[in-house]
Symmetry: C2
């Protein structure tokens, strides 16, 4: 059995507008220590696998930028989807393509949305995951992050009996909890954050998909058969719009027996929204966080300022704002209202016909 990795780099990143745009997804932002999240995810995986075993699934239109970001990865390892159809279809397509290449493939699925530290600990846990998948060829295996706080933005995984060193049987998956419930979860010591990262044999996940998401299974089999020919892209563009938008967690993991969880005890910071930034890059004594920006502050607290050039952002007497300047737009959003960014980008789409999207 051979090991492969698939980095999930789809998604549009509305929540990081205006730094992320349709044509510049979150994973390509050089937001942390001058490296893109995609590059960081790749660099971590090279501690475990050679470049030719690492794949990326992303929107077709983003592949040229992804290729520039990861020149070491063979171009054929970059798998383009014609449109976003959530993780179930992305995982299925990657599984079918890997399986066609190597029917004994063990496939790890990794995200590029987090800052994960330290890398060597990550590599150790990932190796344990691959070993567990090889030892339990019928199992679906998920990575569970040891929670450091009662975060209400993540799904949780409750573990049951042990199934090896650092590996447990999953008892249940829990939706994003309220704060009280999250506190109880964390206090119990039996819960992990659902990382959205997995490892399994391609044969195993495809079997589950055949059973639980038959249309997707049939579609990716058809696509895998002609992927390398010009027909592949054409067929994908034809098939994809009809596929059901659904996550792999919801479509498969939560509806299957015998799922295992590998414990991931490390720093795991989601940078899917701006308020995650202070934890990643650190805040000053007034609680202000500046990333890349040239700024000046008077009587201002708890602000997050992100910019990309020498344009000065000056704050006077403001609190808890997120200010992001990028290209042709500047966002000024109260941090309690970040969930309304989608409303904003939708309005921009209407008013300015995609000019700032």
């Amino acid at each position: 059995m051979s090991r492969y990795a698939v980095i999930m780099a789809g998604g549009s990143g509305t929540r990081l507008w205006p730094l992320s745009r349709r044509r510049r997804p979150k994973q390509l932002l050089r937001i942390v220590e001058g490296r893109s999240l995609l590059r960081a995810a790749y660099d971590r995986l090279t501690l475990v696998l050679p470049p030719e075993s690492i794949h990326v699934v992303a929107l077709e239109e983003h592949l040229p930028d992804m290729a520039r970001e990861l020149p070491e990865v063979p171009r054929s390892n970059l798998i383009g989807e014609p449109m976003g159809r959530d993780t179930a279809n992305a995982v299925a397509l990657a599984a079918a393509l890997l399986h066609a290449r190597d029917p004994r493939a063990v496939m790890g699925v990794f995200t590029a949305d987090q800052v994960i530290r330290p890398s060597d600990r990550f590599a150790e846990v990932v190796r344990r995951g691959y070993a567990a998948a090889e030892e339990h060829p019928q199992a679906l295996i998920t990575f569970g992050v040891k929670p450091t706080e009662p975060h209400t933005g993540y799904g949780y995984i409750e573990h049951g009996e042990p199934a090896g060193a650092g590996v447990w049987r999953v008892r249940t998956f829990k939706e994003k909890p309220d704060l009280e419930t999250a506190r109880r979860y964390v206090a119990s010591g039996r819960f992990y954050w659902n990382s959205g990262m997995f490892v399994w044999r391609t044969e195993t996940i495809l079997d589950h998909l055949r059973r639980l998401l038959p249309e997707t299974h049939a579609a990716v089999q058809r696509l895998a058969a002609c992927w390398k020919e010009a027909d592949g892209a054409r067929l994908a563009a034809e098939i994809y719009p009809s596929l059901r938008k659904i996550s792999i967690d919801y479509a498969v993991l939560e509806r299957s027996e015998g799922v295992l969880v590998v414990e991931m005890a490390l720093e795991w910071l989601d940078v899917g929204h701006w308020t995650a930034l202070p934890a990643v890059v650190g805040a000053d004594p007034d609680g202000n966080t500046c990333a890349l920006a040239r700024s000046a502050m008077v009587a201002s607290r708890g602000n997050i300022v992100v910019a990309e050039d020498e344009h000065l952002i000056a704050l006077v007497g403001v609190e808890d704002l997120v200010v992001v300047r990028s290209g042709d737009a500047t966002l000024i959003c109260h941090r309690e209202h970040l969930h309304r960014l989608k409303e904003l980008t939708a309005e921009l789409e209407t008013t300015y016909e995609g000019l700032y999207g």
Copy 2:
């Protein structure tokens, strides 16, 4: 006796940073209906006087820009000061220069800090002022704006007995009052806002200056004697630093007897700070005011947004902010903290060595 006008266009406009800068004073900002405040002040005065009778006092370094803004005004009518020394010295210099040209000059002093509407009403009041100065050659005459609200940002003038149609004797000058006092002033019907605009014979104001501000008087006499020669500017640069920084109101008006006030009953909007903008350009139903800016707003109220180009300013979930984007800087200031702008520009001076000043 001949009539002349002097527009006071000095001042640095820190309160309108970053739109106003050291090298781009407030009076040159095309902030209202695409016209600069200087241009608007000049246009108003042309209803009363020919261009060759209109003068401007400004910082020497701003004269080239002022000349571009007012090509009709003879270059020799633009009077440059080497540095700002408040209105007493600016008025004194202009008075001495006019007096040297025409000892029987009647000099109106006008500001360029306000939006004044309608212009024909203004012209009528100004003509009445000149006529009063000709009728009362020994009098200092000020224009008093009929208050429309108990504004605490202006000085007030209490009038006494009538001295002609729309002209009154001044009883007292009052400092900026608190709200309660301002309400009482307005309710009494006896008070005007101090407009900072005046009219008098040059001989009369120079007599008062000789008595009350002898150093300034002596200085401007020396300067007037050699103004047209190359020596003028050199001597001004030498003398100016030692002059006392003081306003003409405080130095002369408030310390003199027999001051008259001409009633100015018209719309008089000070645009010396950003919060004045909504009254000038109007606000939308959510109380947001946009000047020049391309903006988008979600769940935001009471904001003032000023920008100069197609860069998008997007506000989400914020209230009562002043957002001004100009050139290489963006200001985000809570409107209750606008008085701290000076702190900010001072800090910028230190941190960035004048780069954004």
